[in-house]
Amino acid sequence: MINVETVRADAAGVLTPPVLELHDVKKAFGGTKALNGVSLSVQPGEVHGLIGENGAGKSTLIKVLCGIVRPDEGAINLSGRAYAPTTPREAKANGLQVVHQEFNLLPYLSVAENIFIEHLPRNAFGVVKRQEMNVGARAALDAIGLSDIDVRWPVERLGIAHRQLVEVARALMTQSRILILDEPTATLTSRETERLFTIVNDLRSRGVSIIFVSHHLDEVFRICDRVTVLRNGETVFSRPIAETNQDELVRAMVGRKLQQQMASEMVSLARPEEALSLVQFRHPQSPHAEGISLQLHKGEILGIAGLVGSGRTELLRAIAAAELPLSGALRLEGAPVSFRSPREAINAGIGFVTEDRKEEGLILNMPIAANVTLASLSDVSRAGILDSKAEIEVTQRLGAELKLKYGGPAKNAATLSGGNQQKVVLAKWLARNPKVLLLDEPTRGVDVGAKAEIYALIRQFAERGLALLIVSSELPELMTLSDRIIVMSQHRVVGELSRPEFSEERILQYAYQGEQQQARH
């Protein structure tokens, strides 16, 4: 603890030379200036927050630092020496490790093999020393407190949150001076995030510098010593964390005053009519016979909170018939229904915005218009022949309604930023005019500005009488949006809160209580 304090004092002082220094780094791809003058200075043993909207240049900056992309201009110094890595290997040799946002694990190899992939322990004949590797991997996982998985399991067996932590363990295998964490908490629940923060604190006390890229400002304030804001490829702001506040950071990021609508100002738009109800509804992974029972009214926004693995995503997938439910009853506007395929659910008026936009929501290499009309092709075709004009009209109408920023309906969905991609997914369902919309992590990987816009849109949908069921790992998001929150744990509903009762502590209490009860069984 004392150690940490001293290092921090050093970091705040001017005496220690910075371990990493960037001066006016620029990089253009074709006509697009991805980096347009980034300056940055990281002290030893400092946790340095790097924030900015999507497209602000964070990813490019990381690619420059780890040798994937070479800058056009500017100087980078590592421990006082000029640093210009040309390959990721060279960056690693210089003590710079990155935990990437997208996963770099090999799904069919074991956890241990993944952790040791860069330097597998071998005997004289080049045969892998399995025992040594497993023991080493075990130690690496224990070091970050990840004791609940077996190092011999293939990575594909792990959930998304555990995979992220395995990546962290792998990055920590090599002695590094600088560790870059790119959106490490995007897939983690609060429990795992806490775990990660403990690791970060520990590393800091050992003098490792950490560049922490995140969309979550509360995390930045909790863990970082200093914060740098990028906007349009430029450093617009860099200050010790103690000298700034959330509002200031958001303003620096979006470059304009953001009107944040407070939770308390919102009025419930729920109507008395029932939109959807579940009675003892079980999905195939649910271990409990009582299943999930809940009621959703027209115009209501019902939030579902819970830890990773509590069965939230599975519940939504079963309602949308993406996976067929095991048992239980489903009523839509009072009438009993049962869907045997996503098509039947969609035809009955259910829309499902999936957790993973790139894998399940969008066809990235096809035009935006084709994505928007994907679920409503019969509306834009006659006798099976597409009417391009109608497709473009629909896209332009919904695009304007959702404030979509796009190059044109014929541009591929891949050209859009995360927030705008999500709007295309929303447009796809709005084009069908659904009765119930299921949203799984609606703002994952979406920047602050677009997030606020998506929140406003969701409220608008509710105003029109659409019933919404939202799963999110971001509690502030759920508390901002929802009229009511139910908390799930171990595939059961363990608590329900109405708007006046909302608080992060209470939600987490419910979530962890459920967990502990389970552990006692």
């Binding site: 999936t354 290499n365 096809m366 092709l377």
Partner: protein, 337 residues
């Protein structure tokens, strides 16, 4: 806001772009067309006989069967599948069609109509099985069609007892070598099939979803479409086209033998790949396939006129296939096309 206004201004262009005819796709097809043109110029200058009407109709006749098979293959490859069985299926369709065609005392017109029905029907059944088996059990089509490759070849041998069927009606055979303005009628049939396939792939809901499945199956499924239907349909279409190709084969060569068509699947795949269709699915056009089939045909013919041996020709064709994929890779990287 600015982006929105710009969009509305360019609406007229956009209408065409949505239907698979974006400038990028056009550029890609134009690039392949250019390669074909260069080849033609090269052989015209390099050999005496290349640009004679006789030789041109010769080339067109030679590429007809491969083109028809490649059109069907385009459907399958677009959804991320592959069909290795078309060569064997061609033999099976031909012997079934040939058997019907040689039924004694049947009027020629009826005999041809029934034989076509039988050949296409055989192709449809085989193609349906390919699609259904791989979709229902979630098997790679590579494996399933490898199985069908053996099944269809065996069936063709079994049905004929390994004998060749010949002596088809003379008028049927005459049709096979019929010309209109120096263009073989069978090639015109292939062109009509290309046009229909182009329309289906770029203008219909069906085509849109085939591209969608090739790019992201799960997104298409969760948008409420039956993957099973579209996958089975793509393979069934490929099978039907094999049936048509079998009839063309018989009309041209006047025989139906259980050992024809060996390796034809690879030529069809080559034409599709040279035509710029991605083996991963979701990207490519049937116009590209037409150009790809022409390139392989022109190359084969021109090299023979150059006096190269058949072995050399085969090696050069192999090099061209690899080159086509390499060029495609660079094109993708450099221009995002």
């Amino acid at each position: 806001m600015q982006a929105l206004e710009k969009t509305q201004a360019s609406e007229t262009i956009d209408t065409r772009r949505l239907t698979g005819w974006s400038p990028k796709v056009l550029l890609r097809d134009a690039g392949i067309g250019l390669a074909l043109l260069l080849l033609i110029v090269f052989f015209s200058l390099g050999t005496e006989h290349f640009l004679t009407p006789n030789n041109i109709s010769n080339i067109l006749t030679q590429i007809t069967i491969n083109l028809i098979l490649a059109v069907g293959m385009t459907f399958v490859i677009l959804i991320g599948g592959i069909d290795l069985s078309v060569g064997s299926m061609l033999a099976f369709c031909a012997v079934v069609g040939g058997t019907v065609l040689t039924i004694p005392d049947l009027p020629v017109f009826q005999a041809v109509a029934l034989a076509t029905l039988a050949a296409v029907g055989t192709g449809v059944v085989c193609g349906f099985l390919n699609g259904w088996i791989s979709a229902f059990w979630g098997l790679p089509s590579f494996i399933v069609t490898l199985g069908m490759l053996n099944i269809a070849r065996g069936a063709a041998l079994q049905v004929t007892d390994a004998r060749t069927i010949y002596s088809f009606p003379p008028s049927f055979n005459a049709f096979g070598s019929q010309m209109i303005f120096g263009i073989p009628v069978v090639f015109l049939i292939a062109l009509v099939l290309v046009a229909i396939a182009w329309f289906v792939l770029s203008k219909t809901v069906f085509g849109r979803l085939l591209y969608g499945i090739g790019n992201n199956e799960e997104a298409v499924r969760l948008a409420g479409h039956s993957l099973m239907f579209y996958k089975v349909a793509a393979f069934t279409i490929a099978g039907a086209l094999v049936g048509i190709a079998a009839m063309v084969y018989m009309a041209r060569l006047n025989i139906a033998s259980p050992i024809i068509g060996i390796g034809f699947e690879l030529n069809a795949i080559a034409a599709v790949i040279i035509g710029g269709t991605s083996l991963n699915g979701g990207r490519g056009t049937v116009i590209g396939t037409l150009l790809g089939a022409c390139i392989t045909g022109v190359l084969a013919n021109g090299l023979i006129l150059f006096g190269l041996s058949d072995f050399m020709r085969q090696m050069i064709t192999g090099v061209v296939i690899i080159l086509a994929v390499i060029i495609d890779k660079y094109r993708e990287r450099l221009t995002g096309v």
